[in-house]
């Protein structure tokens, strides 16, 4: 057993934490040593964010804090106070899938699906900054996300497809 197990459950000291998650103000009482990952999953009832290592090595726990991708297993909730936290549950706007989610579903990019929330958020952050990323830039932006099922190609292709659709949507909107 490792000491990190001390972080879960716990009769230890609890703190009141105020977070803005997926556009909603949330307040929870959580053990002070709980990570953002644990607070999201255990206290806020948002299990879409997954854990694959809790050591900052697999990327499957990636969420956005203030639009930037962070590893929620290495982040303490206090660091996020006053900033917007986005999880996979917050990607779909008003029930419509995000173009990334749409593209991932269409191209069969999710096999077991366990790594997918992390990829979606890394990709969402990338596309916000670079609407026309190259294949290399996409690979670099997702280099911290591990997937063991897909061999990555259908994931990279889906990000390209979503980027193209988001660009044309922008162009149409500005026409």
């Amino acid at each position: 057993m490792n000491d990190r197990s001390n972080r879960r459950g716990g009769l230890l000291e609890k703190a009141r934490i105020r977070l803005r998650v997926n556009g909603e103000e949330r307040e929870v009482l959580a053990p002070v040593h709980h990570t953002l990952l644990e607070v999201l999953r255990e206290e806020l009832g948002l299990p879409g964010t997954k854990h694959g290592c809790e050591l900052g090595e697999c990327g499957t726990c990636t969420v956005l804090v203030g639009g930037q991708p962070v590893l929620s297993c290495l982040t303490l909730p206090v660091e996020c106070e006053g900033r917007e936290v986005t999880t996979v549950e917050g990607l779909a706007a008003g029930g419509a899938l995000h173009p990334l989610q749409q593209a991932f579903a269409e191209l069969g990019s999710a096999q077991c699906g366990y790594c997918i929330p992390g990829f979606l958020l890394s990709a969402a952050a990338l596309l916000r900054e670079r609407p026309s990323p190259t294949r290399q830039e996409i690979a670099e932006a997702t280099a911290g996300n591990l997937c063991r099922c897909t061999g990555y190609l259908k994931i990279l292709e889906a990000i390209e497809l979503a980027a193209a659709r988001m660009r044309s949507r922008m162009e149409n909107a500005s026409d």
Binding site: M1, N6, G9, L11, E89, Q111, L146, R148, G151, L156
Partner: protein
């Protein structure tokens, strides 16, 4: 090629599980928040081999909030996980035989309390000498299984004197499955002496047997339900039986739901892996390249318990000489017991180790003969009417030559072979080829597990519930079986709903392994669908009704539309003494052409492209098929280039993703999946199955490409920069420093 005339089968139908998975609403085992569930944890051995001299749990039991502390003495049923040799305890009783072996279990109100309880258990060990080396274990006679193949007369063939003979000794490392979701289980008492176990797994019926055996209850009281599973690759085949039985014991003892979720380090330290292998091989051919004799000595390190090692070894044994016509073959194979983590099933199942040797031998032989490696394969390729080394005469669906032609064309083999050989700078390109075949299903050793069931229920609105005993582990089973059900029933594919596997719904359908799911569950579905169609036909006659109208009419006429299906594969016969007979029902054939770039100054190798061809029979869904190829190829590249475990005193040192490296998005080359469809008559719509072959013949194609690029032979993988660099130094120091 036969026109199967299908409408849904063969189409790129969207994965029905995709929406949930992209929305983050798919519930994996650790997402199932069961109210009032306890945290389970396992006390594990720090030693490779020791006698437990003291195990005192009295204090741990008194901690408030700790609800159970269990040792081997507290197991109501048998303390053995039912597996081929039943040597694997649920909890160590007197001895521990590998680092990480389970010694005691706790269940507590929180994860912190569970950890505290583990620390409070007093345990003392007397350390014993540990067998950590497979060759040593072989000398000590610790053989778990021994198989052989005897065909023709290898001795006199090798004595002929007019043959070209190459030989080598090849070593392959541990490989970690590295599914991103760690193993986990939840046990829920059923209130009647049994436990329902939910979890991440490939084989609910294996877990069911383990649970019933540990609890000493009827199989029917050990209900097992698979939850959405975050990858398996064989790693959730045999190994989950242990946490399954353990969580059931805790739930049974506390009368409460218990969740047992492994941490990554725990998972890497104690769950199964690909067996490390050592293969000695001699291959003899005439001067014009006709294979005459092959001799193989194959050794696997099984670890402390047998799990599935005997069958893993069997598959490697019968496929040891590759998909070639070989009149004389002698294979001797053994898996030995050591004091290390038990190895088990892993995609490829005993083939990658021996195929690395066999295909490296073919590349060497081609070089010695001055022959193109592709020509050597084509010359000896198995075709219809030929026999495998077990004397299995292949009468149909042998697409090997087509596969070779297609990968050669896709890669522009001949041109690149010549062009890359002219690279002169420090960074040189190379192109290599390797092939394999794969007997689908459980084969001669596992045939009692081969039948599979399905249950189909048509609801009043025309929607169809399909239950099978095999599992979705990301490979696309739900999609493919939905297509087969829709095709067989003649209903829209959107109306088919494949539900989570549950041992209470269908009879034991064997494991989700060996690329058998499409064929076995597919045929069981077709059997059930035929019964439903037979019930419908007299009602609807030729009225040209739509599916929904036909279902409504049946309801009106009080005709029930539900059926069980059962698939039993054609019988095969095999003689274990001679290794002759039908080892498997039928085979898929594969070949990979790999292009690499080797930096001769740093030893770094980068894969540039992989042309991966597979004769898998009818492809039910090209998208999931490509997904299997791309994922398998990248796993194979990891095996070839980076993945290995380092151990000290039987302890795995690299038990995290920062130290056990797997390929990332930056490491992926161009991959061209090539699916060749030679239909297999007994398979549903001609399908054969595809799960495993993509991973098998990647590593030897990589090392052949490295040889082509840099003139060095690697007889051991992974081809890390250190290993490649050392080989380059050795070559430069040696007398024959020329490019091939």
């Amino acid at each position: 090629m036969e026109d199967t005339g299908t409408t849904v089968v063969g189409e790129r139908v969207r994965r029905p599980d995709a929406p949930d998975k992209v929305k983050g609403t798919a519930l994996y085992i650790d997402d199932l928040a069961l109210s009032g569930s306890l945290w389970g944890a396992v006390l594990r051995s720090p030693h490779a081999h020791a006698r437990i001299t003291r195990l005192d749990v009295a204090r741990a039991r008194t901690i408030p909030g700790v609800r159970a502390v269990l040792t081997a003495r507290d197991i109501p049923g048998r303390n053995l996980i039912p597996m081929i040799q039943s040597d694997w305890p649920v909890l160590a009783a007197e001895f521990v035989r590998h680092v990480g072996e389970a010694v005691a279990l706790v269940a507590a109100e929180s994860r912190d309390l569970a950890a505290e309880a583990l620390r409070t258990i007093a345990v003392e060990y007397e350390r014993l000498p540990a067998l950590l080396d497979m060759e040593e274990a072989l000398r000590a006679g610790e053989v778990m299984a021994h198989w052989k193949v005897r065909r023709g007369d290898v001795q006199s063939a090798l004595g002929r004197g007019d043959l070209v003979v190459v030989e080598g000794t090849y070593r392959t490392p541990y490989q970690e499955h590295a599914y991103i979701e760690p193993n986990g289980m939840i046990g829920v008492p059923d209130g009647r002496g049994g436990v329902i176990v939910y979890g991440s797994m490939q084989c609910p019926f294996y877990v069911q047997k383990a649970v019933a055996s540990a609890l000493g209850c009827d199989l029917a009281r050990a209900r097992v339900v698979q939850t959405v599973t975050g990858g398996g690759f064989g790693g959730k085949e045999d190994a989950p039986s242990a946490p399954g039985a353990q969580v059931a014991l805790l739930a049974h003892a506390t009368g409460r739901p218990v969740r047992l979720i492994l941490s990554r380090e725990e998972d890497m330290a104690v769950m199964s892996k690909r067996h490390p292998g050592r293969v000695r091989m001699r291959t003899a051919a005439t001067r014009d390249g006709e294979l005459v004799a092959v001799e193989v000595d194959y050794l696997l390190d099984g670890g402390a318990y047998a799990t599935l090692s005997p069958v893993v070894l069997f598959r490697g044994t019968v496929h040891a000489c590759g998909p070639y016509r070989i009149p004389n073959a002698r294979v001797e194979s053994r898996v030995v017991r050591t004091h290390k983590v038990p190895c088990g099933a892993f995609r490829g199942f005993g083939e990658p180790q021996v195929v690395f040797a066999c295909e490296s031998q073919m590349d060497r032989l081609a070089e010695r003969l001055g022959m193109d490696p592709l020509m050597l394969r084509l010359k000896n390729a198995l075709g219809e009417g030929d026999e495998t080394i077990t004397g299995h005469k292949l009468t149909s669906s042998v697409g090997f030559r087509d596969v070779l032609d297609r990968v050669a064309a896709s890669s522009d083999w001949s041109r690149k072979r010549a062009e890359y050989a002219r690279d002169a700078g420090p960074v040189r390109r190379g192109i290599g080829l390797a092939a394999c075949y794969y007997g689908v299903g459980l084969g001669a050793l596992g045939k009692h597990l081969n039948p599979a069931g399905a249950s189909l229920v048509v609801a009043g609105d025309g929607s169809v519930t399909v239950a099978v005993g095999t599992t979705e582990i990301g490979q696309g089973m739900i999609t493919v079986l939905s297509q087969i059900a829709a095709e067989a029933l003649g209903c829209p594919v959107e109306l088919v709903h494949v539900v989570e596997p549950d041992t209470s719904r269908v009879p034991d359908s064997g494991p989700t392994v060996a690329s058998r799911t499409t064929v076995m569950s597919g045929n069981a579905i077709r059997d059930a669908a035929a019964k439903i169609r037979a019930a419908m036909e007299p009602v609807i006659a030729d009225s040209g009704l739509s599916w929904r109208e036909a279902v409504a009419l049946c309801a009106q006429k009080q005709v029930g539309l539900a059926a069980h299906g059962w698939a039993v594969p054609p019988a095969i016969t095999f003689d274990l003494e001679t290794g002759q007979g039908e080892a498997y029902m039928y085979y898929t054939f594969s070949a990979n052409v790999v292009e690499v770039e080797v930096d001769t100054e740093t030893g770094e190798t980068r894969a540039l492209a992989v042309h991966s061809g597979h004769d898998t029979g009818k492809v039910i869904n090209p998208t999931t098929g490509e997904g299997q190829v791309e994922g398998g190829v990248v796993q194979g590249l990891g095996y070839a280039l980076v993945e290995e475990h380092a151990l000290k005193d039987g302890r795995i040192l690299n038990d995290q993703f920062s130290t056990y490296i797997i390929p990332t998005p930056l490491d992926v080359p161009e991959i061209r999946p090539i699916l060749v469809e030679h239909p297999y008559a007994w398979g549903p719509y001609g399908a054969k199955g595809l799960g495993e072959t993509p991973v098998i013949a990647v590593a030897p194609a990589v090392t052949a490409a490295i040889h082509h690029a840099a003139g060095i032979r690697l007889d051991e993988i992974p081809a890390t920069p250190e290993r490649v660099w050392a080989a380059l130094q050795a070559k430069n120091a040696g007398p024959t420093a020329s490019r091939p």
